[in-house]
């Protein structure tokens, strides 16, 4: 089979052959070309642009940390800069202001904060100071802040003593939440406050306060409340003791007040009024009264009891 071709004439083209070396066209060199192609490769570009710098950074940081000379130099530099800043008068604290609180408490707060004035604001940790102040028994909450002109303000909410608590032969002041405020040497120091006695009395402070409020009309006759078995209250009066139930102690106290109003029950010769069983009030009479009761019954009914 023959190729399909026309008759060919060989063309002779007369290009001038250059004897002088002609300047080549501009083109990237082979190295340049390969580098360019390498650079356009996705993984290579990612490596150079992201992973290598990241790796170098990690190595430098790690090296700096691990070498004592470098980290020492850095911390020295840091101290120098910090020293300059700390010395600025704008940051100096010259006074501590405590707008509320008794002089005694103020003295206590200053002692706890233990600042050697003047001090730079940078050296003061406000959070720590606040926690220190709040750690005081007599302080309910505190906020500490810098004011202008070198003033450190400590704003507190005091705990006010509500009752005196005697426990294990020691006397404490409790606030209305049952948190201890201070210790007192004698009862007579705060004879204006009611007395509670017994283990766990602070935990039931809410009920105790309510009972005190209910019994307020009795004025001086209430000597105090005794917490029995960390469960219920006894009311100790001048002549008698009222045993309140573990639940609804305040209601029982109200009933007691009603009995007092109707029958003057507390003025009678009764040593113990037991209200623990809500269905039945039990009275324990004094020796004298019991004897008299028996005598009267014998006389009326002609029988011996």
């Amino acid at each position: 089979m023959n190729p399909i071709v026309a008759e060919r004439r060989d063309m002779v083209v007369r290009h001038e052959t250059a004897l002088v070396k002609v300047k080549a066209d501009p083109a990237p060199s082979k190295l340049n070309y390969r580098l360019e192609r390498l650079w356009l490769t996705r993984w290579f570009r990612d490596m150079v642009r992201i992973w290598l710098p990241l790796g170098a950074l990690i190595v430098v940081i790690y090296g700096g940390y691990s070498s004592p000379a470098v980290s020492g130099w850095f911390s020295a530099q840091y101290q120098v800069v910090r020293g300059v800043v700390v010395a600025r008068p704008e940051l100096r604290i010259e006074r501590v202001e405590i707008p509320v609180g008794s002089p005694d408490l103020q003295r206590q707060i200053l002692g706890v904060m233990d600042l050697s004035l003047p001090v730079s604001a940078l050296d003061v940790d406000l959070r720590e100071l606040r926690d220190l102040v709040q750690g005081l028994n007599a302080v309910k909450s505190a906020s500490v802040r810098f004011l202008a002109d070198g003033v450190l303000e400590v704003r507190i909410k005091e705990r006010l003593p509500a009752v005196v608590w005697r426990n294990l032969n020691r006397l404490y002041l409790l606030d209305e939440d049952g948190v201890m405020v201070a210790e007192v040497p004698r009862r007579s120091v705060r004879s204006d406050l009611p007395l509670v006695v017994g283990e766990g009395a602070g935990a039931a402070m809410l009920e105790a306060r309510e009972i005190f409020a209910v019994l307020a009309p009795l004025e001086g006759r209430v000597l105090g409340l005794v917490r029995m078995g960390e469960r219920r209250w006894d009311v100790v009066l001048q002549n008698n003791v009222v045993k309140l139930p573990g639940v609804d102690g305040a209601d029982a106290a109200r009933r007691l007040m009603a009995l007092q109003a109707s029958d003057d029950i507390l003025d009678r010769d009764v040593s113990v009024i037991d209200m623990r069983n809500p269905d039945r009030l039990t009275l324990r009479l004094n020796e004298e009264a019991l004897r008299e009761l028996r005598r009267l019954r014998e006389k009326i009914h002609g029988e011996r009891v």
Partner: protein, 443 residues
């Protein structure tokens, strides 16, 4: 036939592998310029807007990078100066890569050199079982008798153009049809192997892997010919710088390919000699003032040309445009007459339609259409490549039709027939030999 089968399959597989990776470059090695397009393939459809733009949906690729470089080391479409060509390819590829911001490893190359020759092959087999299976197609392709095209030539295109089943002909895909005797007509294009190996060597030096090799006349035809022209028969004449590639299309297949070893550079050379100008000046006045049909006003149209022999500053040299046309026209006529001779030899006049489409950089000469009509026959038009996504306007002209055609061919290849299995009795040591040869060529 086995070697041919293997090489075609090999080429196809490499191209598919490249396209599966999503990025492929097409490289048109011309005598005047080397242009590189970087294509990015994606599944997504082009956006639905821009209704006034008629964008053919030819594959879902997008041109993301374009690089063009003057080529000094190529003559007649063949590499004559390896170093210079390598540098130009590097420059073009790097430019396209920079624009695309992608690295390309696979490249599909087209060139017009190598003295292409066309062969018509035919083969016939009995169908094994009632209807035609893929195996039958493999067998019939393998049964084609390959002419002795010479030891120093390589087949680069081999496509079945037509299948016949018994007495029915004109089948594009006979699979599943019932018949007894299946025959095939194939078209094969061979090139001298030296230019092909030079080209492969050049690509290897540029660290590029060749995923396909095409004749530029074929690529231009794919991008320039209209649907009906490809179907009914048309000739594409790609007038490049150093050579003019011709191919004839019929039923969407190339049925003939050839090249005339003359092109725009020869016209410039004539101007050089005829008007005694330097090559660059000749190129300049050719592109700015060139023409082929002289009119009365052209003799009054004076072109000032540089005068290296000037004695004083106003010593000017003028050339009239009719003189320029007088120099250019004979050469263009010569080229077209040569094209005419090739087309006559190909049997072009027997096709149902005889549309001739001129494209390539030299088709921009004013008056070419008229002159070509006179020499080649009636239906001549100047063709520009199809518009593809992402191609800049500056690279959408007739000079880029081969590159665009390669891109279209890469996305819509027409050589699926090489997927068919080779008959078992013919596979053997040949395959190993083909693999060895591939290694030798590419490593």
């Amino acid at each position: 036939m086995n070697d041919l089968f293997e090489t075609q399959r090999e080429m196809r597989h490499r191209r598919e592998a490249a396209i599966r990776r999503g990025v492929v470059a097409v490289l048109d090695i011309g005598s005047y310029k080397i242009s590189c397009l970087v294509l990015q393939f994606s599944e997504e459809e082009p956006e639905a807007g821009a209704a006034d733009v008629t964008m053919p949906r030819m594959g879902s690729f997008r041109v993301v990078g374009v690089g063009t470089m003057r080529s000094k080391g190529v003559r007649f479409g063949e590499i004559t100066d390896m170093g210079e060509t390598e540098r130009a390819v590097r420059a073009a590829v790097i430019k396209a890569q920079k624009m695309a911001e992608l690295r390309v490893d696979h490249v599909i190359v087209s060139f017009a050199g190598g003295r292409p020759r066309s062969y018509g092959l035919s083969g016939a087999v009995e169908v094994e079982q009632g209807e035609v299976s893929e195996r039958d197609i493999g067998r019939v392709l393998a049964s084609c008798e390959v002419p002795p095209y010479g030891r120093d030539r390589e087949a680069i295109h081999a496509l079945p153009v037509n299948f016949s089943l018994d007495h029915r002909t004109g089948l594009a895909d006979p699979r599943g049809q019932v018949g007894a005797k299946l025959s095939v007509d194939m078209h094969m294009l061979t090139l001298s192997d030296a230019p092909v190996y030079d080209l492969l060597e050049c690509m290897k030096r540029c660290d590029l892997e060749v995923a396909g090799l095409s004749f530029s006349g074929f690529a231009s035809g794919v991008s320039t010919l209209m649907e009906n022209e490809q179907q009914l028969g048309a000739a594409i004449v790609d007038m490049g710088g150093g050579s003019t590639a011709i191919s004839v299309f019929m039923r969407r297949h190339m049925i003939y390919g050839d090249a005339v070893r003359m092109g725009g550079e020869h016209i410039t050379n004539d101007i050089c000699q005829g008007l005694q100008l330097s090559y660059d000046d000749a190129e300049r006045i050719k592109t700015l003032h060139g023409g082929l049909v002289a009119t009365g006003s052209d003799s009054r149209y004076e072109i000032e040309v540089p005068n290296p022999m000037a004695q004083w500053e106003n010593d000017r040299r003028m050339v009239s445009r009719s003189e320029l046309i007088g120099v250019m026209r004979p050469r263009v006529e010569e080229i077209l007459e040569e094209v005419r001779a090739r087309l006559d030899a190909s049997g072009f006049e027997h096709l149902p339609s005889q549309r001739i489409v001129l494209t390539g950089g030299s088709s921009a000469i004013p008056g070419l259409e008229e002159l070509a009509g006179r020499i080649l026959g009636g239906q001549v038009r100047i063709g520009r490549p199809l518009r593809v996504q992402g191609l800049p306007q500056a690279s959408a002209g007739a000079a880029f039709s081969a590159a665009v055609g390669l891109a279209l061919h890469a996305s819509h290849p027409m050589d699926e027939c090489w997927d068919f299995e080779m008959p078992v009795d013919r596979v053997g040591t040949r395959r190993i030999k083909a693999a060895m040869r591939w290694f030798r060529q590419n490593w």
